[in-house]
Amino acid sequence: MKVKDQFRFIIQNMKKNKVRVFMTVLATAMGCAFLIVLASVAFGLHDTVLKDTMESGEVTQIQVHGYEESETSYRAINDEDIKLFEDLEGVNAVTRQKSILQEVTFSTEGYEVPAPAVSAHFPSEEKSGLELAEGRLPEAPNEVVVGHHFASSLIPEGQSAEELYDEQGLVKEEFRYDENIIGEPFNLKLKKIADGKESSGDFDVTIVGVMEAPAREWEWDQNVYLTDHLLTELEDFTGTPNAELYDPSEMEVTETSETSYDNVTVYAANVEAVKAVSDKLKEEKYATYSVVNEMKQLNMLFNVAKAGLIFIGTIAILIASIGIYNTMTMAVTERAPDIGIMKAIGASPKVIKRIFLLESSYIGLIGAAIGIAAAYAISVAVNLALPMILEAVFDEKLPSGLRFSSIPFSLILIAVIICLTVTILSGLRPAKRATEIDVLKAMRREI
């Protein structure tokens, strides 16, 4: 018997009991939709986290915090280490920054701001893919690049803090610096202590570039990025490494502190190379951190959550399978005389079994198809409505790009496989019963 004919046969049989078949399909569809919607929450949140991480551009970064000299002590990264990192296979760039260890004030035309100052190695920053929102990278020693929020942090000199800031802690519109800061000369004021006396020095700098806004909305960047050359000038002025504010005549300066970096980031050539580079650095006893490594744990956590939710969803399908079992058992009982006749004229038990298994699979497939459509509709509705509801209830804006529910093809595939397996299994016993029907009893209508 051809599959096409078997299929036609089951459609004909199903039409005999439309209501019962419809209710069974409905139960299966509900179970399938429940499974997909439930698991889609884990998929949605996982996607959001992954997207957020990918967009932050941090996936190829490996932060190196120090070299493990012993189990309890670490030393800072120095130029020798940087050379070693740059020579590693799969490394695109190694950026290194030193922070100026005192508060630096920048001022221009009646505006000022105390801002963290950091020296950066701009050639490696450029190689790492650093992009500016406007302007260019420094070319002369006294040129600087400022963080995206530097200009909006500038405040008029002599104003009290109460008048300057709004409820959110931002400088009020009327007090903001509204000139273009590119090419603007600024004064960098730095303090030093010499022979027990504190004094200050002024350095002329020019802003030549503004950084891109940080990837995360909540991040605030008002740093000033200096050249190595300018940092050396500042260190010469204070007589201390990183221009730290203390009396150099009272402290012994070690060689290590002079050449060490505060913030060293190794950029892998691509995401695939991150693991190899990270492993190599660990092998060389460097303390590292990379988002990719953290993402592995995160992925594991989300995968466990997905598996758990799929398992719970499967219980719903299992409940629906009771309906399928019942429907198929009833169908076998009702059609026993027909089965008897078919067997009498030459239908083999295999054919009879296949017909009933095909019928339960068909119910499962239709149920899965309806369930998938319903799950998509629910998913879209949830993604549209839930943020609005949460924002209304909690009066807080949710992070942009947040997706509560996501239905990838893999989830659809998993749901269909589970649905089909469960429905086939629930149809197995009735199908076997159909093959065991006694021809003579069936034809005498004794079943």
Partner: protein, 230 residues
């Protein structure tokens, strides 16, 4: 064509601990030749239907062997016998055994579907068969919309549609009036004469028994007489 050797059969009634063995057939042996019409007669309870069911493969003999077309069918499993029935046997039942939810056309088409014939070929074959049994205008009728005679014709058409060499008939005229019975007997004779189809017919009707080239009489599970029905 059919070789029945030393067939003994009994039914076991009751459950464990309280079983009753009811002997039905005792040492039955006979042969049916190709192209022959053999009728089996006997009173109710003589074992004639059981004998037909054994030959059909619906039940297995307790002892003895049945050989049909050189195949020891008494050793076949259910699947093997189902395939054998489809290829080599046609059945005519007393109460027609048509599937009520199928039209006359679909009932006749069923063996062709089971055999895996293509749709076009089986549509043509079924239409030809409907014409042959004089029901070309009743193809779309359900069994409940047909008379007893018409239903039996559908049943015969279904039995013949695969052109099996052997037709087993169990009281084929049992549900028919005398006029329809005569038509059916005439039809059986024609099939036997024109197509060489072998018939093994179970009956308690003398009229039917007479069409047999040979008649076997059963009584109490034994063959008591064999020869031309007089």
């Amino acid at each position: 064509m059919i070789n029945v050797n030393q067939i003994t059969h009994h039914f076991v009634l009751g459950k464990k601990g309280n079983k009753t063995i009811v002997p039905v057939l005792k040492n039955i042996s006979f042969q049916v030749n190709q192209g022959e019409i053999v009728t089996i007669v006997g009173r109710s309870g003589s074992g004639k239907s059981t004998l037909l069911n054994l030959i059909s493969g619906f039940i297995h003999p307790t002892e003895g062997e049945i050989i049909i077309q050189d195949k020891k069918v008494s050793e076949f499993n259910e699947t093997e016998f189902a395939d054998f029935r489809l290829q080599h046997m046609g059945f005519i039942f007393q109460n027609f055994q048509l599937i009520p939810s199928m039209t006359a056309f679909q009932n006749i088409e069923l063996p062709l579907i089971l055999k895996g014939m293509s749709e076009n070929a089986r549509r043509k074959t079924t239409a030809d068969m409907l014409k042959k049994v004089g029901l070309e205008d009743f193809g779309e009728h359900y069994p409940s919309e047909l008379s007893g005679g018409q239903q039996q014709r559908v049943s015969i058409a279904r039995a013949l549609v695969l052109e099996p060499p052997l037709i087993l008939a169990d009281e084929p005229t049992g549900s028919l009036d005398s006029e329809t019975e005569q038509d059916l007997l005439q039809f059986i004779r024609e099939l036997n004469r024109d197509l060489g189809v072998t018939f093994l017919i179970i009956t308690h009707d003398d009229e039917v028994a007479r069409i047999g080239d040979r008649t076997i009489a059963l009584a109490d599970g034994k063959i008591v007489e064999s020869g031309v029905f007089a």
